[in-house]
């Protein structure tokens, strides 16, 4: 770890330690419980596990620094298995049986949507992670705060980049699951706003082993670039087929391509694709985070948004937890008042710095705005190199319309 990185992490830990010491409390106080409900073993398990680890890092740093006002943080974890019903049951258990202060989780959209009404029913804050479906925060729910970008924000980023690089016609290919369909819908809207036409569009079933029909149609079109909205394994198939049929157009793939699985399966066929990321690897604090992450979990990881979202959500929860009104309610044994104070605390503070986005960007929440990430200065495009192994900054001078 670099000296700067260690310093930044130490600063974070020190701030939490100061909070604890200033309160002058003993360490024997009751633990504060927070619930993590995420997909840890289903179709989106990569995202759930990485976010969980990020969250755990935030909590462990706080506990190592003496907890919040002397209260240790206890994490209760549930594997929602991408099952909305199961996730909803766990959410009820968190609120009713575990007496948790809040719920953090929700990378896949289906389970996240299932937890939302439970959070509303039991009046418990729900910090939603990378679930991207737009309408989850279209009508602000009182107990919901979203930390990941909406699909529309990804689409705004694609459209701005394509426009800036001189693209006028693109083709879309996506899986026919809700993620693919929703991503394509918002992409169409924002591409049109930037004067970019969609000249070909193909959907596919994720169980199909051969996607030549769809890719042939893209190749035959006069699209200057291809936008792909897949899950990891089917995304690899799309990239391999684009390579096999020598389509030869620049390719942009949604954030699912940040996951190691897609790049491992696609191998060299993934080299050169552009992916929207919300992690700026030029930031010293981001570099420090990923070095600490690799040390903590003993495996090399690429700088993707998933661990960072978990960490950021955890840090916001810990910051707000330390507010006097939240602490007073916790120490008074009134968990419902503590939940309300935590929600009101997030809204009162409104703006939070995190590791996502560019240095200048912040999360910002309000009563009528429950997705924290801003539309601008949030995305940083990355590209794949070395046979799918590495995510590196792209050379955008090469990302121009194919002629």
């Amino acid at each position: 770890m670099t000296r700067t990185g260690k310093g930044l992490l130490r600063t974070g830990g020190l701030a939490l330690a100061m909070t604890a010491l200033m309160a002058g409390t003993a360490l024997s106080k009751d633990a504060i419980r927070i619930c993590s409900i995420d997909d840890r073993s289903g179709a989106a398990a990569d995202t759930g596990n990485e976010s969980y680890r990020g969250l755990k890092m935030a909590v462990e740093a706080a506990n190592a620094a003496g907890g919040i006002n002397g209260h240790m943080i206890e994490m209760i974890e549930y594997d929602g298995k991408t099952d909305p019903q199961l996730s909803a049951s766990f959410a009820a258990r968190c609120a009713e049986d575990d007496n948790a202060l809040l719920i953090i989780g929700g990378n896949p959209a289906g389970p996240a949507a299932a937890v939302m009404p439970i959070a509303g029913e039991y009046d418990i804050p729900f910090f939603m992670l990378s679930a991207g479906t737009d309408n989850l925060t279209d009508n602000p729910a009182p107990w919901l705060f979203r930390f990941g970008p909406r699909n529309a924000q990804d689409a705004i980023a694609y459209a701005q980049l394509l426009d800036q690089q001189g693209f006028k016609k693109v083709a879309l290919i996506y899986n026919t699951l809700p993620f693919g369909l929703d991503s394509a819908t918002v992409a169409r809207k924002y591409l049109a706003e930037h004067g970019i036409s969609v000249v070909a569009e193909e959907g596919y079933d994720i169980a199909a082993t051969d996607l030549s029909p769809q890719v042939l149609n893209l190749k035959a079109s006069d699209a200057e670039a291809v936008l792909v909205f897949p899950y990891p394994a089917d995304g690899a198939r799309v990239l391999k087929t684009l390579d096999q049929l020598q389509v030869g157009k620049p390719v942009v793939v949604s954030r699912s391509a940040l996951l190691k699985t897609l790049r491992e399966i696609a191998g060299p066929a993934s080299d050169g694709i552009l992916i929207p990321n919300t992690v700026d690897t030029g930031r010293a604090d981001v570099q420090a985070f990923f070095q600490a992450y690799e040390q903590a979990y003993g495996e090399e990881t690429q700088p993707t948004l998933y661990p960072v979202i978990g960490y950021d959500a955890g840090m916001v929860a810990l910051q707000v937890m330390a507010r006097p009104d939240v602490m007073a309610a916790i120490e008074g044994g009134d968990i419902q008042a503590a939940r309300t104070a935590l929600r009101d605390g997030v809204l009162a503070q409104g703006t939070f710095k995190g590791l996502q986005g560019k240095e200048t960007a912040s999360y910002s929440f309000a009563d009528d705005k429950r997705h924290g990430s801003p539309d601008q200065d949030w995305f940083i495009f990355t590209t794949v190199a070395n046979g799918g192994a590495d995510l590196v900054p792209p050379d955008l001078s090469k990302f121009v319309p194919a002629h």
Partner: protein
Amino acid sequence: MDKFSVLLFSGLTNGSVYGLVGLSLSLIYGANRVINFAQGEFVMIGTMSAILFMATYNLSLPVALVLTLGVVLAMALALEFAVYLPLRRRGAPPLTIMIGTMAFAITTMGLALLVWGPNQLSVPNILPMEPMTVGPLITNWQQLAIIGAFVAFLGLTWFILYRTSFGLAIRATGVDPKVALLMGIRSDRIVRFAFLFSATVSGLAGVLIGPLLGGQISIGVALTVKGFMAAILGGLGSPFAAAAGGLAIGVAEAMIAGYGNSLYAEPIIFLIILMILFVRPYGLLGDFEAARR
């Protein structure tokens, strides 16, 4: 590149996968009138075992294939001894046994989760995946092997059923199990063979499609659905009809995606299947099953 040829080849590749699962389902159904909802899990276990033996333990290809086959055969015996036979001995109807196979499928997924974890994994390819030109097509050896395996298993099934006395016993059991029993045919052996053979077909299909689909413990569900669709469209009582049903679905998917709208390919195919079943309730080639009833 001729578009029609590419679409036809793509349809045959996908159709071969559906056909292999359909053939496996139909073999078991022919022997004991049970729909095996765990059939896709044999494909999954084939794929995941290939990862275990070829990537994790880095064993040579022949050894890895033998061990993979061993795992799927052990799983077939587990299905027979832990689910089928106990339910059969207690007089359970086929519908109950079918639910039993579903429970077995879910349990298998749970055990696979413990072994392989939740993530999608890269599956080593046993044949080169680099693009190659064959006439008007660009393909690779792995895709050709899937079609080759389909043809080979179809031929082997035909040989066993129509050129061996054991095959005659299987067909006799399929026509009327009680009469077959009276004629001295041991139906328990027929059923065991059906489980083992269909597991072999599906397991090896898993090894072949893994490098294309990727390995994840939940891939079996979608394949069971497609295989079941294939068997229903072709005719559930005959393995050959089920295999033909798989090819028909694969080719129809490719043609609709290539010449029509890929987004609606699946609903259109389900609609076509429904309309065909209105006219031929036992499937396109289901005369045998219709006559049996």
